[in-house]
Amino acid sequence: MSDGSQTMEPRDEEGGGHEPDALRRKLLKLAGAAVALTLAPGVTVLARDLVVKGSGGRKAPVRYGLLIDANACKTGCDACVRACQDYNGLSHDPGPDNAQWIRKVTITNPKTGFSRSFPVMCQHCENAACVDVCPTGASFRRPDGIVLVDKHRCIGCRYCLMACPYKARSFVARNVSDQKPWAPRGKGTAEGCTMCVERVEAGKLPACVAACERAGHKGMVFGNLHDPKSAIAKRLSEVATTTIRADLGLGPSVHYRGI
C-alpha cells in the first residue's frame, strides 16, 4: 500500500501551505460540508412540514375534496367507475393485476344486515401515507390537495401500494396502449385517481362526479373544502359525515355520508 500522506502533502499549495494541520482542517471542512449537504434536504423537508402543519401555518386557499353520499348511491350502478375507466383509458377487466382507480365497495354489517354500496378511490389525504413512504418523492401532494404520481420519478418499488390503507394505488403490470394524453401511464410505475386534475383545472367536474350527476343519483359532490361558500363545504357543515379509517389520522379529502 502506498502512504497517502506522502503523496498528498506536496500538492497542498493553497492557503495553509504545507502544514499537515491545514490539510487536516481542509479535509474536515470538506467532510463537514458533505455531511451538511447530505442532511440538508431532509432537515429542510421536516422543517417545512413543521411550519405548514404547525399551528402557525396558513391554510391553503384551495383544497379539493369529495362528499360521497352512500344513501344516494345505487347498488348495482357503476356509472362513476365506467366513466373513470373510459375517460382515463383504463381496462374494464377487473383482473388481479389491472389498475382500478375507483371501485364500488359494498359493506355489510354481519350482525344487523345493514348494507351500503359506494365508490372508493384515492382519498387525497392531507398526511398521505403514499407521499410519506415514497423514496423518490414521486408520490406528491399538490398545494390544492390533489395527490399524484410523477411517472418520471417513480421507480416502481410499490411501497405506496403497501402503505395506502385504502388500496387506492395500482401498479401498471402490463404494456399500456390507447393512452389518453391527459392521463399518461407507465408500465412499471404506480398510479391512482388523479381527481381528473386537468378537468378540475379547466373548471369541470371529475369524470366520476359528472357521471353520477348524469345518472341522476347526485351521490357525489365535488368542490373546494376550504371555501365556506362552496356547495361541498356547506353540505359538510349541515350533515353528519365521516372519513374511512379516520383513526389513522391521515386527513382524507373524501368524506362519506351514510356509512
Binding site: 367507475v81 389498475a99 365497495v105 423514496p135 418523492g137 410499490r158 388500496k167 401498479f171 412499471g188 374511512i244
Partner: protein
C-alpha cells in the same frame, strides 16, 4: 502465535463448478429481470394484492442476515473477544456479500430499475426506504474500510474504532429494515414498533447461522482444520440468538392477541390463514426455533469435533429454513390478510377487498429470488480466492493462543483435532 490467513488456490474442478453454477444462476436472474421489465410484472405471481413477493422475501432475509453476519467481527473487535478474531475477515466479507445479494433482488424487481438514480437525486427523507438507501450504501463503505483496516497491518490499531462504527451502523440499518414494515399503519400484521428489535435479534440468528454454514462448508472443502473450542462457542451463541428470536416473536404475537383490534390478523396467521399457520408453527417455530434449540443445547460428546460440527451445521440449516419461513409469513402473510378498511364489516368489491389473497410464485420471480443467493455465493467464492480472508487453521491452539479468554483445559480444550 499469529493467525495465518491465505487465499484459496481455487483450481479444483469443484471450485470452478461452483463459480460457473452461481454465475449462471445470477445471469438467469438478470434475464428474468429483463423479461419482467419487457413484459410487465403480470408474468409474476405478484399483483395489486400481493404487492411484494418472493424476491422481497429473499431480499429481506439476505439483508437481515447481512447485518447479523457482521456480528462475529463485532464480537472480536468491539467486545474484545479475540477468540472470534480469526473469523472477523470472513464475517465482514459475508456481511458485504449478503447485503449485495439482497439489494440485487430488490433492485432487479423494481418496476423501473433504470430509474433508481431518482432515489439518490430526489431523496424523500420522510421515507424509511430513502434512509435505507443511505444506510445500505453506508454499510458497504464502512465494512469495506473495516476489512481494509483488518487486513492492512499498519491500520490494525484502528480496527476497534471502525468496528464500533460498523456495529452501531448495523444496528441502525436493521432498525431501518424492520421499520419498512413497522411503519406501515395500514396493514394489521405490521404496524408494530417491536418489528425493529425483532429484526435485530433475527439478524443475529440468521447471520450467525449462515456464517457457521459457510465456515464449516468452506473449511471442509479446503481441508483446513477447525477446533472444538470455536465450534462449541458458535454453538452456544447460536442457541442464545435463537432463543432471543423466539422471545421477541412471542412478545409480538402476545401484544397483538391482547389488542382486540388485532385478533383477526392473529387468528389468520396462527390458525385459519391457509398455508400460513403451518408455515408459522411448522417452519418458523418448530424448524427454525425448537429443533435448533434442542440440537444446540444438547451436550456434545466430549472431543468429538465431527459431531460438534454436524450439530452446528444441522442447527444452522434449520435456522435458515425457519428464517425463510418467518420472513415469508411476515411479508406474504401480512399482505394476504385483507386490508381492514371497515373493521368489523363484511367488505366486497371488484378490487378483491375483504378477500384473502393467494400467492403462487411464478418462475420469473423465483429465478430472480434465487439469483440473489447465487450472487452472495459468487462474491464469496471470488473474494476468498483473491484475498486472504480465511485463516489456515482454526485449531484450538491457534484460537486460544490468539488471546481468547480460555478455560485452561476446558471440556473441548485439549482434545485431539479432527479435520471437519
Amino acid at each position: 502465535m499469529k493467525v495465518a490467513y491465505r487465499e484459496i488456490e481455487g483450481r479444483s474442478a469443484g471450485y470452478w463448478f461452483a463459480v460457473i453454477v452461481c454465475g449462471l444462476v445470477a445471469a438467469a436472474g438478470v434475464g428474468s429481470a429483463l423479461y419482467m421489465r419487457a413484459q410487465g410484472h403480470h408474468v409474476t405471481g405478484m399483483n395489486n394484492q400481493i404487492v411484494w413477493g418472493l424476491p422481497h422475501v429473499f431480499a429481506v432475509f439476505l439483508i437481515v442476515a447481512a447485518s447479523g453476519a457482521l456480528n462475529v467481527a463485532s464480537i472480536a473487535s468491539v467486545f474484545g473477544r479475540s477468540l472470534y478474531k480469526p473469523l472477523a475477515r470472513l464475517s465482514g466479507l459475508l456481511a458485504v456479500a449478503l447485503l449485495i445479494g439482497g439489494l440485487w433482488n430488490l433492485v432487479l424487481d423494481l418496476g423501473r430499475p433504470g430509474h433508481l438514480l431518482a432515489a439518490v437525486l430526489y431523496p424523500n427523507f420522510r421515507s424509511i426506504f430513502a434512509w435505507n438507501i443511505y444506510l445500505y450504501t453506508g454499510f458497504l463503505v464502512i465494512v469495506g474500510f473495516y476489512l481494509w483496516f483488518m487486513m492492512e497491518r499498519r491500520l490494525n490499531p484502528h480496527t476497534h474504532s471502525v468496528g464500533v462504527l460498523a456495529f452501531l451502523w448495523r444496528l441502525v440499518l436493521t432498525t431501518g429494515t424492520g421499520s419498512i414494515f413497522g411503519f406501515l399503519a395500514a396493514r394489521s400484521a405490521y404496524d408494530s414498533a417491536v418489528l425493529a428489535p425483532l429484526f435485530i435479534v433475527t439478524s443475529f440468528a440468521f447471520g450467525l447461522a449462515i456464517f457457521a454454514l459457510v465456515l464449516l462448508a468452506g473449511f471442509k472443502a479446503l481441508g483446513r482444520p477447525v477446533g472444538a473450542r470455536l465450534l462449541a462457542r458458535l454453538k452456544s451463541l447460536l442457541a442464545v440468538f435463537v432463543a432471543a428470536v423466539l422471545y421477541f416473536v412471542a412478545v409480538y404475537h402476545l401484544t397483538n392477541l391482547y389488542m382486540a383490534g388485532h385478533r383477526g390478523v392473529e387468528s389468520f396467521m396462527l390458525v385459519t390463514g391457509g398455508v400460513f399457520p403451518p408455515l408459522f408453527w411448522g417452519g418458523q417455530i418448530f424448524v427454525g426455533g425448537v429443533i435448533p434449540l434442542l440440537l444446540l443445547l444438547r451436550r456434545a460428546p466430549q472431543g468429538d469435533v465431527g459431531a460438534l460440527a454436524r450439530t452446528l451445521a444441522f442447527a444452522a440449516c434449520a435456522v435458515v429454513a425457519g428464517g425463510l419461513a418467518q420472513i415469508y409469513v411476515l411479508i406474504i402473510g401480512g399482505q394476504s390478510y385483507p386490508l381492514q378498511m371497515f373493521p368489523g364489516l363484511v367488505v366486497k368489491s371488484s378490487f378483491y377487498d375483504g378477500v384473502v389473497h393467494n400467492y403462487v410464485p411464478h418462475w420469473p420471480e423465483t429465478v430472480l429470488a434465487l439469483s440473489g443467493v447465487a450472487v452472495v455465493a459468487l462474491i464469496v467464492l471470488i473474494a476468498v480466492r483473491l484475498l486472504p480472508f480465511l485463516p489456515e487453521s482454526l485449531e484450538d491452539h491457534v484460537v486460544s493462543a490468539h488471546g481468547a479468554r480460555t478455560q485452561a483445559s476446558g471440556a473441548e480444550g485439549g482434545e485431539p483435532l479432527v479435520r471437519t
